[in-house]
Subunit: 382 residues, 2 copies
């Protein structure tokens, strides 16, 4: 469903200006960090005076490069991201222009595939890995993650030469919270029936969250919210759908595109490119380090165990957004989200909310089959 | 290669007596813990006055039961282990007799697949999960793991009603070290050319390590070493092979059987059912808690990052055991070991040691193809 929302032009045209900005920053001695995951706190990166850009890949054309080093039967996001770096470092032209702009990749010990890919990545680009407790519920886990955040800050200070002061950290926490509040505003508008904006459009905005500088992103989202509050929404009469599962990095819009082409109305995404990135704010009153550690450990990622918060959140979102069905999306071979599917299915079943599970890669081979399955699902829940 | 070693009869015939022993123990009020992984310290379990038995599965017939709940495209060990529990809990007769004998499964946050499987497992059997830092090199990681060990001890005390005293812990550390020293004795005998025992035979012994009580296992290994020192070894003239990679749980002997049928001579295994279980001893002079935490974090499992110790150990073992080639074995869809394969391959290439990679499940479908590949590899390195 193509949109006539003028404020989306900014996001659509943001690539070149942002790349030019990063180039200028680097010429002026600013350091740029590449990240892959929500668990790496932007607040610390910005407090140290660096900029950051996402290195997660959603494109399929960098995957063959990656498969020269990595197994084929792992997640396409991992292969695509790795392939983009390798291609760029080897002078290829497949990759986006991000890679040559980063001084360091800051990664995190989340899933097996990413954790181990980062080791190979470090042959191509300097790589810093942040550890994560996998059972985040205890005071000791918080303590351990806090120590990892402090070490990361020291690393960033070494990189930029700027101290990560408490004041700077508080400022960045407030800034990031402001972004999160704006995204809440955007997502609240989607609760309307019909929603004033489609899910594929929102996904393309959300993908810019870690690409643009925070102020640029906020300006864009603010203008978008203003416009959505003023214009009459396009008629969207299909069943209201929630997508839940793995992130959809830039280039990967296959499933939401298909849902909307088939007449479904996506109203919310429980994913890293959806609510997971902004739902919880950082406590601005508490000690900033502890507040950051607590907030980041709250991210309901399936790499954590147990992950009851995610199940509860999915049910909560399904009710708040009055969805008719859930599409559970997983990247192929993503063990964590694929296994957690059972728990999600059981919880939704208790609430009598139907769920369709789709596991896919970045290729086109299954587009038609996915379309047929979505079609059947929408018909069933209509 | 069938053996005439009399001392192996004990291991072969140990199943029924051990199961009967566990039944008697339980009737007398003793608690029994089921474990899946080297990272769960036996020393704490025994110090709390409980017994333990392995719950890892190497059988293929419990997998269809598991696939009713878990994705098909995950590791066969995870599916087999889970299927055995579910089958037993649902009154099936596929599973071994272990499951009804355990009061609790003690699991660990290692790979994505196991970590998430344990959540589902807890619907069938009480499950306790031990967290692990994934970047084990720092003092903070040690501190965190130490806190996990102490919490686990408190849990075990609650289960058994026996305090885990420092004395009891020291006693169990000495006992476990004694086992490790005996295994070093066994593995030193394998350095001989020709080795006095085949790799498939050793694997079947090593699989009993977590099934038998420590004293029984030690008696068996002691008798085996005595016999090996006295009898003339069978003529083994093929190329000396090291297997490196994933564990081979009881029932899973496909690859070593094939290597030896094709004329290879397996002299050492760098795996959880090989050197990884016993190579490093626990420091008996240091504080037992810290010594335990340090030793367990040293286990060179591919779920850790970085994992340079494993690469160094593989090269070291390849030289010590004078191997002609390495068979890199991975369970299907095991991302951690599959991705780490590249680093291992690179390290072995520098040493001019050829490597063959085999990724397989527990089924028979690829037996012939594996045999053909092993045949070609052995011919190449002969």
């Amino acid at each position: 469903m193509s949109s006539s929302l003028l404020s989306l032009d900014f996001f659509r045209d943001s690539y070149e200006p942002r790349i030019a900005q990063l180039k200028r920053e680097r010429e002026n001695g600013m350091k740029v960090v590449g990240t892959f995951c929500l668990y790496v706190p932007d607040e610390i990166i910005f407090a140290a005076g660096a900029d950051r850009i996402v290195l997660c890949g959603g494109r399929t054309d960098t995957i063959p490069v990656a498969e020269q080093s990595l197994p084929r039967n792992i997640c396409p996001l991992i292969k695509s991201s790795f392939g983009a770096v390798v291609d760029a470092c080897c002078g290829g032209d497949l990759s986006c222009a991000h890679v040559p702009l980063v001084d360091v990749a800051v990664a995190e010990a989340t899933c097996d595939g990413k954790k181990k890919m980062y080791e190979v990545l470090s042959d191509y680009v300097p790589t810093y890995v942040l550890d994560l407790p996998q059972k985040p519920g205890s005071p000791e886990a918080l303590e351990y993650f806090l120590s990892e955040l402090r070490k990361f800050a020291v690393f960033m200070e070494g990189l930029t030469g700027h101290a990560v002061t408490t004041d700077a950290l508080k400022r960045e926490i407030r800034s990031a919270n402001e972004t999160k509040r704006l995204l809440h505003r955007l997502f609240e508008l989607r609760m309307r029936d019909p929603p004033p904006i489609g899910g594929s459009e929102v996904l393309r905005v959300m993908q810019k969250q870690f690409f643009l500088a925070p102020d640029q992103f906020r300006q864009g989202v603010g203008r978008l919210c203003d416009e959505l509050e003023q214009v009459a929404p396009a008629a969207r009469t299909g069943p209201r759908i929630m997508i839940s599962g793995c992130p959809m990095a830039a280039g990967n819009t296959k499933v939401p595109d298909s849902i909307e082409q088939k007449g479904g109305v996506i109203v919310v995404e429980e994913s890293c490119t959806g609510t997971r990135s902004f739902w919880d704010l950082v406590d601005e009153e508490a000690d900033p380090w502890t507040a950051l550690a607590e907030r980041y450990l709250e991210i309901p990622c399936a790499c954590m165990t147990p992950n009851d918060e995610r199940i509860a959140r999915i049910v909560d979102l399904a009710k708040r957004y009055d969805v008719r069905g859930v599409v559970y999306y997983t990247l192929q071979f993503c063990h964590a989200y694929n296994i957690e599917r059972l728990r999600v299915q059981q919880a939704l079943k208790r609430e009598k909310i139907p769920m369709l599970a789709i596991e896919s890669d970045y290729g086109d081979a299954d587009v038609e089959q996915i379309g047929i399955r979505i079609d059947a699902f929408l018909e069933m829940i209509a």
